[in-house]
Assembly symmetry: C2
Homo-oligomer: 413 residues x 2
Amino acid sequence: MANTTAAPQASSIAATDGGVTAPFGFQSAAVHCGIKAAQGALDLAVLAADRAISAAALFTTNLVKAAPVRVSQRHLAATDGRVRAIVVNSGCANACTGEAGMRDAATMASETAAGLGCLPEQILVASTGVIGVALKMDLLTPGIRAAARSLARGKGDEAARAIMTTDPFPKERAVVVSTGVGQFRVGGMAKGSGMIEPMMATMLGFLTTDAAVAPALLHRALREVAHDTFNAITVDGEPSTNDTLFAMASGASGVTIDEAAYPALLDGMRAVSRELSLEIVRGGEGATKVIAVTITGAPSEADARRVARTIANSLLVKTAVHGADPNWGRILAAAGRSGAIFNPDRATVKLGGVLLFENGLPHDEAAPEAEKHLQGQQIAIEMDLGFTPGHTATIWTCDLSAEYVRINGEYRT
Amino acid sequence: MANTTAAPQASSIAATDGGVTAPFGFQSAAVHCGIKAAQGALDLAVLAADRAISAAALFTTNLVKAAPVRVSQRHLAATDGRVRAIVVNSGCANACTGEAGMRDAATMASETAAGLGCLPEQILVASTGVIGVALKMDLLTPGIRAAARSLARGKGDEAARAIMTTDPFPKERAVVVSTGVGQFRVGGMAKGSGMIEPMMATMLGFLTTDAAVAPALLHRALREVAHDTFNAITVDGEPSTNDTLFAMASGASGVTIDEAAYPALLDGMRAVSRELSLEIVRGGEGATKVIAVTITGAPSEADARRVARTIANSLLVKTAVHGADPNWGRILAAAGRSGAIFNPDRATVKLGGVLLFENGLPHDEAAPEAEKHLQGQQIAIEMDLGFTPGHTATIWTCDLSAEYVRINGEYRT
């Protein structure tokens, strides 16, 4: 950051087409290797910069880390955050696969590096799919070579499809950020849709920008943005072995992010991340509704998040929303077991803005109106814990349907 | 305890018929008040001792405590643990009902006391059912009077049915404990079956014994026994606003529990509690299988419980078991996010005794045998964390089925 005293620049954001290759300086390719059984289903993507550029990543906090997570952590450290490309496959998580899995992840990097003409350490690796199954390297290696030969701009949508597992639709977004010193772009793609929980939230997320950002600053921005986007969603309270959020900054726009431009970078990254993470929730396994749980009046932000997460992960709340049942008692009970300390008699609960609980008592007359809200697809749960001034947090989740059970009872067998 | 140096006495346990009224000195009655809509469905029970006797209780740790919980806490304190009866209704939890709810719970106690001819403080109160709905006192009051008039021995089974909500079957058990100084009996009944989670586990549990036990010792025994029975089960990770485990000791057997006889009391209470808590799991909402999650080789007992609970509450594990999918990766991933620290490469995972993961690698050849185990109804998940000597814990849970979603999406509306 050249100038630490500069005032934030005014900036504006506009949505634009495309995803990870909307920013300049990036190309992608997606191919069918055969890891997914379905004929022609894309299951491998390479997202490459034109040269080694700034990169940062946030990795799962699960103690059990998949081989690609561990390889990516090493490569980021070894290159001080200067990488050329990310290679990612779906259909197999390469997790709990021992030393052979580590070798396979390293081979994914070295094969990609060979195709691009760079060092293996300049490649980051991601995998998503079933745990405990070895990668079919005889299928993957020719796939990587084919992908490296077919890189192009404007194929981000294929990459977004290639990273899907049980996702019902691909997720990509891009914005143009206009600042006083020029325009830059932020693009992204992500996949869900089970094992989603705030701690390192999504299975896989990829952000690109053509702003010039030093690796340390990119990492700081990624952490800040993830806090209230990818780390503020939950489908089933299950942070996975492979969760990773990547960011790459090509600098191809000519706009350099200094202290004054940093808020504009955050705005752009947040806009893309917010939409992608909400899309992950919307595409959650078996989901029919998106639920925003907003806690206000909490004694601390950590308490606000704790209460919001407990409500968002409550099976009884999620099934009640699924059945359009304005069962505010389950919301209050979930808050009560969250670990946060508050006085239930001073708390309020609203569904879709309809006040259902106040001063220790229900507003039964409002239940029909709240039920109407629950029949929609965008559900707002609001709870105030009664502290003034209080802290606030929002966690996004989806309802729990019989379809979730079907998907997860039949996923592997 | 008269003699703190006495050796434990040899004792033996045998199952016997009945439930809470199997021990001498207890009577019960159950009636239909009309709180449950179904014609003639029992929804009120009174469990009474012949005189004021020792009592103890464990209450929910949820910050949001229902009125009957708060009234029972006060009454136990006011009487130093000497009570005459417990009055309990199903169909309405009397939770989140404000001051009116507190008055209603107090009225349940005073009406019962009037019927029995004792002080209101000598009555404990419990309610289970929907949250946030006021008790219909115009139905309940005549019901309590009718129940107080019809107390008898040998009707424990009706009481066990009167406390059910979504429970698929009533749960009662009794044993005879034979010691060197005579026989005493322990009986019990319990109800589930949603909002079940270890912290104060079951919705409602009632234990009776005709041993003579001082209130403080009865409380100690209740805590000790609950730790690996009622507090070691989970259906959906949701400790409720009403969870309570009661114990009453009539002394009618003539056997006094001193230090030497204390292990025999624990054995008897544990035998009844173990079976009742497993019945709660077996009758969990939508449950088709009972799952025992046993962790060995943990760095501490708390870590063993933490890992076991995280696995037992994992939606992905519970749905995999439901679908008979030997997906040990989900077990390992749940353990990895539990907060306990261990080396995954030194951990082992077994399903039904079949080793599926060891030395960081799967035993794929064993999957068909593990799948056969999962097609049964008694599922054993075992995980060793690799510490020697290690600590152990077992948590019981059930699978997650589409039926759970149906029950909880349609429960209220």
